[in-house]
């Protein structure tokens, strides 16, 4: 049965879930509703917008008036939020008649108040959108005020009711003012309402100014009837029906068009007259318009109109008449056009006629079209070709193919385009007619065969490449070869490759590659090496090898490169075309060692291509591109590299761009690149990024620069909270660094003086072991001890680049908080297990110590770590790949302690040469750790979780993580999983807070071993979102707080999902008492509860355990815990 309390709780929960709607508007005053709504605006989402507007609209006229009164009249303060509210209101009610009426009334009333002119204009605009008949009076009252007349007249035109139009007309009658007249005439014109005709005609009769006259004419063309025809006509006639002098002619024509449906007979007369008048004059477009009017008339013989027009010698005129005529085409018309096509002396006219005939798709036109297929005049010839293509393929294909006998480039281009788009097979006809084509035509035919991938033409193509009389034909055949090749032709082509005398080696190679691509990579290698073993000149096969993209092919090519003569040269060229990323290394070596600038330049181009098109992360690409930048030979190469760096999203690339901001030739490209990376990656904001962007702002010089500066400012504003990354290595000396003394524990134990002495010695040693090289690189010479930050760090993010140098047992690492270490080693050292890769927490014993994947670059190349340490947890990305995912770092120096809360960062010395650069730190503010109250401290409580480390806990520390001072289980990381206290407890008072997500399920295990289901091998106190619908059919001993399966808990004390619950568990012997948010929900004896057998009927062998661990038992839901403490009883 539901108690009253439970009911209200459920209601509260319901309201919580349904959000804004549930807050009953009646309970809020207009001003609170408005304040709440304004706080939501501008709404980010459509549903929020609708909800906000719905709540606003409830406030009715009062609310709207209140909003209007909030607008600042001075124009100096921003009204934006109120403008969002009012315009939102207008839009929201526009299609809702009742609400719309209320809004309209409010605007009307407000407009009667003495408001600032800009506010009035804004309100009139609202009426323009949603106003109706009821607003006419108020809007009309503004028509004599020049500042408001324009928006008011536009609003009236938009309302466009009879009374709105009348209001405009009345004002127009009464005004003497030229400017007002202009506004009003323009508005009545836009109403297209006939009642305005008289007043407009009166204006016209009073010889108005030029501007007013023109506007009146245009307005009459929209509102006029037959009464306006003569006045407009006579004005037009005065200007000789010229459209340039004034608007009368245009207006006259428009009016005629408008009156066609109602007065066809009269309009016919007018149009015929106009056509005649303009036939002699030079008013071509007036004549075109008059002819169209005639064409649109219902009872007119269109064929006759066409016939007359065809006699005309003006092609522009005729082509438009043909356009108008198209909708009424008859056989007679087509015959007329065919006749005219033959007869006309004008090439342009013939062009128009041919295009038109093509559109009709009439087969009867074929003979005449074909007749002009070879015409001398380019336009005519093209029109014939295009038109013919519209006809039946059977009729058109052979004539079109016949065009390939021509030698003229324009004719052949038309033929090519038309045949390329030809909607049926063309290759058979091309092959069979091939001998008849001109050489130029043959080239086009070959191109078409290639386009259609006509493998049936292989023999023809091959023969033409080898022996065509004309070189251009040979060339085109060579290019086409790749499109018509099939795998079985490989032998023939390889033979050609070996002859080595062909002019078309590159094309043949392309065809070979194409033929090979039909096979698997392994098969390709087999074929190629098979041929190679029998051939004298191995180098001829390098290009094919390169094309396979396989690593073993690279090895063969490198063998060749290390030989001399033709092999070396061919190998180098093949290397440039390699498609596997591994080619980067030899190319880098060649470019670094190279003396020949041209060779370096080629290698650089190839490197850029390989790096950019690789599947590596942006960070890896950025590291390699930086290397290539050092080798780049031309300004364009440098620009290309900077442009590509922009796409890497790499922090290191952002830092790198800064170097070029002072280089005149490169700074714009560098600025764009740096800006793009920064703006795309708010996680880089602050610190050094602010410094670079500030410099970029000064440098930017392009048409969009002003906008880009605004975008940078916005970025600064959006991210002003963050500290950002700052450099902790200045690239020049060891400022901020010192030598290593002892361990954090031994240092803490050392007397101050002794420590200082030891430190001086250690610093001297470090200065010898750690050398700052050129380009801001820090080198460890291979002898000596760790290099440590002077500063101590608690929670932080870190970027660092590192490079192992080839040598004996390359090994290094980063110590976090004085503790080893994020591992760095050469993955080739399999005897020590280095094949797992770098980035693991090497010295972890209980928590994961190996990286998730291998993400190392080759020894001798740069790698990049991103390390994040919060509390006792460490996350590492190596070269952009997640390798350590929020793992606890154990205290190596004393495994009985958690990791030090704050300590130095160290670069490990491990006896091999290693380089570092770009060392940046962003400190993360740490939440205040939880502390016991005085009372609890006195009573002897002990903290199990203070928001920082999870040292007192064991088990599934992967799913249970720390976040913002809470312990959170994210079961998506891997299903379920339990977390236990390291210690065991018998009788205790356990206090903690927890927060549920909808439908959440977890459990508090007590007196339980770490193995088995705690509900049975120990005791489980249920943690559950009781309110979730999926749990409505549970047994009462399954709800929150119940000793699972044994003692049911009272329901109703849980806070709504998303709020913190405070719970206390007292376990004393067989007596269990649970208090949730101040309500005792369980107070019972487990031995009594099972007197008559367990209520759930299951075995609970661990129910009477004397002691055991306390654990959180995951059941696939996100749950948060905090402030966990315990007192032993």
């Amino acid at each position: 049965m539901l108690s009253k309390k439970n009911l209200s709780l459920i209601l509260a929960l319901l309201f919580f879930i349904s959000g804004v709607e549930a807050q009953t508007p009646q309970n809020r005053t207009t001003s609170t509703i408005i304040a709440d709504a304004l706080a939501q605006l501008p709404a980010e989402k459509q549903n929020v917008y609708n909800q906000t507007m719905e709540s606003l609209v409830v406030t009715g006229e009062d609310g709207l008036n209140a909003l209007i009164n909030m607008m600042d009249a001075s124009g100096k303060k921003s009204n934006e939020t109120v403008e969002y509210a009012i315009s939102g209101w207008t839009n929201f009610v526009a299609n809702k008649p009742a609400d719309r009426t209320i809004a309209v009334a409010a605007y009307t009333k407000a407009l009667q108040q003495p408001l600032d002119i800009r506010i009035k204009q804004f309100l009139i605009r609202q009426l323009e959108l949603i106003g109706d008949d009821t607003n006419v009076e108020i809007l009309a009252s503004f028509l004599n005020n020049i500042q408001l007349a324009s928006p008011a007249a536009q609003a009236l035109a938009n309302i466009n009711s009879q009374s709105a139009v009348l209001a405009l007309i009345e004002s127009l009658k009464n005004t003497e003012d030229e400017q007002l007249s202009i506004v009003l005439v323009n508005a009545v014109g836009q109403t297209e309402n006939v009642s305005a005709e008289n007043v407009l005609l009166n204006i016209l009769a009073e010889s108005p100014s030029e501007e007013l006259c023109n506007l009146t004419c245009m307005a009459l063309s929209k509102v006029g009837t037959m009464h306006s025809v003569q006045p407009l006509k006579s004005l037009a006639a005065q200007s000789g029906f010229s459209i340039h002098t004034n608007k009368a002619t245009t207006a006259y024509i428009d009016l005629l068009f408008k009156l066609i449906p109602s007065h066809p007979v009269e309009i016919r007369k007018e149009a015929q007259q106009l056509q005649k008048l303009t036939a002699k004059s030079n008013q071509n477009n007036v004549r075109i318009a008059s002819t169209e009017i005639l064409m649109q008339l219902p009872d007119i013989n269109k064929d006759k109109l066409l016939k007359t027009a065809l006699k005309d010698q003006n092609p522009a005129y005729v082509s438009h008449v043909l356009n108008f005529y198209s909708g009424y085409t008859t056989q007679t018309g087509i015959d007329l056009v065919i006749k005219a096509t033959k007869k006309t002396k004008s090439d342009l006219m013939r062009t128009s006629l041919l295009y038109w005939l093509g559109q009709t798709r009439t087969e009867k036109a074929a003979p005449v079209i074909i007749q002009y297929l070879h015409d001398q005049h380019a336009d005519v010839q093209k029109a014939a070709v295009r038109s013919l293509a519209n006809l039946d393929p059977e009729l058109s294909l052979h004539p079109l193919i016949g065009l390939l006998t021509h030698t003229d480039a324009a004719v052949l281009e038309n033929a090519y385009q038309t045949l390329a788009a030809f909607d049926s097979d063309v290759s058979t006809a091309l092959i069979s007619n091939y001998p008849d084509f001109s050489n130029e035509g043959k080239a086009v035919a070959l191109k078409l065969l290639g386009l259609r991938k006509a493998s049936s033409s292989y023999h023809l193509v091959y023969t033409e490449m080898m022996s065509a009389a004309d070189t251009k034909v040979q060339q085109q055949a060579a290019v086409t070869l790749k499109d018509v090749i099939s795998a079985d032709k490989l032998t023939q082509l390889f033979d050609l490759v070996e002859q080595e005398n062909s002019n078309y080696a590159a094309d043949i190679q392309t065809a070979v590659n194409q033929a090979l691509s039909f096979e698997s990579v392994e098969k390709q290698l087999e074929i190629i090496t098979g041929r190679m073993s029998k051939a004298n000149k191995a180098y001829l096969y390098y290009p094919s090898l390169a094309n396979t993209g396989s690593t073993s092919a690279l090895a063969i090519i490198m063998d060749g490169y290390n030989q001399s003569g033709s092999n070396a040269q061919a190998a180098f060229n093949a290397l440039l075309s390699m498609k596997t990323f591994d080619a980067v290394y030899p190319l880098l070596d060649i470019a670094r060692a190279g003396k020949d600038k041209a060779e370096i330049s080629k290698a650089v181009d190839a490197l850029i291509n390989l790096i950019v098109s690789s599947t590596h992360t942006g960070i890896v690409k950025a590291n390699y591109l930086q290397e290539v930048m050092l080798l780049a030979q031309t300004g364009n190469q440098k620009k290309t590299i900077l442009n590509q760096l922009a796409n890497t999203d790499s922090f290191q690339a952002l830092l790198f761009t800064e170097r070029f901001l002072n280089d005149k030739a490169l700074r714009e490209v560098a600025a764009q690149a740096g800006m793009k990376i920064a703006l795309n990656n708010p996680q880089y904001a602050g610190g050094v990024t602010t410094k670079i962007l500030t410099r970029i702002e000064q440098v930017l010089d392009n048409p969009d620069a002003e906008y880009q500066r605004q975008a940078i400012q916005k970025y600064f504003n959006d991210n002003k909270e963050t500290n950002g990354f700052v450099s902790i290595f200045n690239g020049k000396d060891l400022t901020g660094w010192r030598g290593l003394v002892g361990t954090p524990i031994t240092r803490a134990a050392m007397p101050k003086k002794k420590l200082e002495e030891a430190q001086i010695k250690a610093d001297q040693a470090a200065a010898e072991s750690w050398v700052v090289e050129e380009d801001g690189v820090l080198l460890f010479t291979g002898k000596g001890n760790n290099l440590c930050t002077e500063k101590q760090y608690d929670d932080f993010e870190m970027w660092v680049d590192w490079k192992l140098l080839p040598g004996k047992e390359p090994d290094a690492g980063i110590y976090l908080r004085g503790t080893p270490q994020v591992q760095i080693w050469d993955t080739a050292r399999v005897q020590v297990g280095a094949q797992v890769g770098s980035g693991g927490l090497y010295n972890n014993r209980f928590n994961e110590s190996k990286p998730i994947k291998v993400a190392d670059q080759k020894v001798g190349e740069w790698n990049t770590f991103y390390i994040k340490m919060v509390g006792d947890r460490v996350t590492v990305y190596l070269n952009g790949a997640l390798v350590t995912d929020n793992i606890i770092l154990e205290n190596y120096w004393d495994r009985t302690q958690p990791i030090f809360p704050t300590e130095q960062i160290e670069l490990q010395a491990h006896g091999s040469k290693v380089m570092y650069r770009n060392i940046f730190i962003k400190e993360i503010p740490r939440p205040e750790p939880f502390q016991l109250s005085k009372q609890e401290e006195k009573e002897g409580f002990k903290i199990l979780f203070d928001g920082g480390n999870m040292y007192q806990w064991t088990g599934n520390t992967t799913d249970y993580i720390t976040e913002d001072g809470c312990m959170v289980i994210y079961p998506s990381r891997s299903f379920g999983g339990n977390l236990y206290t390291k210690e065991e407890f018998d009788d205790f008072i356990f206090r903690f807070q927890f927060q549920l997500t909808p439908g959440a399920n977890n459990g508090l295990g007590i007196r339980t071993p770490m193995e088995g289901d705690a509900a049975y091998v120990g005791m489980e106190l249920q943690i559950l979102d009781n309110g979730a619908p999926i749990y409505k059919n549970l047994n009462d001993y399954q709800y929150h707080g119940s000793v699972y399966g044994i003692i049911p808990a009272k329901r109703g004390a849980l806070k709504p999902v998303g709020e913190w619950n405070y719970q206390e568990v007292i376990a004393k012997g067989d007596h269990i008492k649970i208090t949730l948010n101040g309500h005792v929900i369980v107070d019972g004896n487990i031995r009594d509860a099972v007197k008559n057998g367990t209520p759930d009927g299951k075995e609970h062998p661990g129910l009477f355990n004397k002691k055991g661990h306390i654990g959180f038992l995951g059941h696939g839901s996100i749950v948060k815990f905090k402030e966990i403490r315990i007192k032993r009883l």
Binding site: G75, E178, L184, S209, V286, E292, S319, E706, Y707
Partner: protein, 418 residues
């Protein structure tokens, strides 16, 4: 008082009909201009100056409401040309064959219609018009007067197509072949290579500023509602205000959408539905948006994703039988071989001067240009109203939606109308 535009001109400055003295020495490669078509350019700011360079025609006149722009642009040409402060004078200049319109979009409709009525051929910047109604009237005026109209976006017939990594032609061929199936969904977003340029946003509050002496601000505003001057409203940043354009959607929309309309063979129709996911828009200043989705009657969709929104590795065209991604990556097995069996798309009349000579419609003309501009404008209206809109593709208006239809035809400020 009688104020005609000519007397107004005197007060605005003595620029009208000012003639630039030709340079004494003509540069290399100079051609006799006698048989070349001529052009007059309206709006010679950043965009308009590009129009000087378009080949094959000779500049004979320029017009701008900013004297500084006009002077700067005039200094770029060596020929003797006419400079105008009122575009109507340029349009009625007998020496001008082609009128180039490179003003902000709120002027395109009026100017194009006037030019058509004056019997000129037209080369108009995108977006074609700022409202659907204006587009319709330009289309009618062009046809009624027999003008040749070219809209200045070119991707449907010229490569490359922005960041897509392929020209439009092979895509058209693939779609036309039917290999992808039907209906298709085209996604235009950062992930498929298109940047919606969200820096074209307006400011929600502008302090009134004095109008610079060289600018005829009233004429710059033209048909747009009067609002106090602020430098951010005009040159270079006007796209951030609904009165003149529609931000990045207005700027790039027709560039990106027109080819899609061609690819989907929708040149003569319109989507029937547009949905938006966006923050509420300010009534004056254009803001950003997350997505705009258009649906055609046959189920084809065009999806625009703003900024970084949307799913990476999304196909540019998704069909029931296959997808095409950026850089023409197609997931149909052996598509190259299959596609070779099909004809290329029909050749398009892409030589504007040839079209003028032979009076044939240009590839991107007033009809298909109107339809792609309408897609852009539908999106802008849905953004401003922040709701789903339904469109009647035959009547070319929104269905049972008087409010949305207000935006189809916004009344113009006097003395301007079409």
């Amino acid at each position: 008082m009688k104020t005609s535009r000519r007397t107004f001109l005197k007060t605005a400055g003595s620029l009208a009909l000012f003639t630039v003295v030709p340079r004494p020495v003509l540069g290399r490669g100079y051609q006799a201009p006698s048989d070349q078509l001529t052009k007059g350019i309206i709006g010679v700011g950043n965009m308009g100056r590009n129009h000087i360079k378009y080949d094959g025609t000779r500049v004979v006149a320029m017009c701008d409401v900013d004297q500084k722009h006009l002077r700067q642009a005039a200094s770029l040409v060596q020929d003797q040309i006419k400079l105008y402060a009122d575009f109507r004078d340029l349009i009625s200049d007998k020496n001008v064959d082609i009128v180039h319109i490179a003003t902000p979009p709120h002027w395109h409709g009026i100017m194009a219609a006037e030019a058509a009525q004056a019997g000129k051929d037209i080369f108009c910047e995108k977006p074609m018009t700022r409202t659907i109604g204006e587009g319709k009237r330009v289309m009618e005026a062009v046809q009624k007067n027999g003008s040749i109209f070219r809209l200045n976006t070119w991707f449907r017939f010229k490569d490359p197509f922005y960041g897509l990594g392929t020209p439009v032609k092979p895509l058209k061929k693939l779609v036309q072949s039917g290999l992808l199936g039907w209906p298709l969904k085209v996604t235009i977003s950062k992930h498929t290579g298109f940047d919606w340029k969200f820096y074209w946003t307006g400011k929600n509050h502008l302090d009134p500023q004095p109008v610079p002496a060289e600018l005829d601000y009233n004429m710059w505003l033209g048909p747009a509602p009067y609002k106090p001057y602020n430098a951010h409203r005009v040159h270079g940043t006007f796209r951030g205000y609904w009165d003149y354009d529609a931000g990045g959607l207005g700027d790039m929309g027709q560039h990106y959408i027109d080819p899609v309309q061609y690819i989907l063979d929708k040149d003569h129709t319109s989507p029937v539905k547009v949905e938006v996911d966006a923050p509420q828009q300010h009534p004056d200043a254009v803001g950003t948006w997350r997505s705009i989705t258009y649906t055609y009657e046959d189920g084809c969709q065009i999806v625009l994703w703003g900024g970084d929104y949307g799913i990476p590795n999304t196909p540019y065209i998704a069909g029931p039988k296959g997808n095409v991604y950026k850089n023409f990556v197609c997931d149909i097995p052996e598509w190259e071989k299959k596609l070779a069996q099909f004809p290329e798309p029909s050749p398009q009349p892409a030589d504007f001067l040839e079209c003028i000579r032979t009076r044939q419609k240009f590839a991107l003309n007033e009809v298909n240009g109107y339809h792609s501009a309408t897609i852009v404008n539908m999106g802008a209206i849905a953004l401003r109203l922040n709701r789903t809109l339904h469109f009647d593709a035959i009547k070319q208006e929104f269905i049972n939606d008087p409010e949305a239809n207000q935006f189809v035809n916004e009344p113009m400020r006097a003395p301007w109308n079409i």
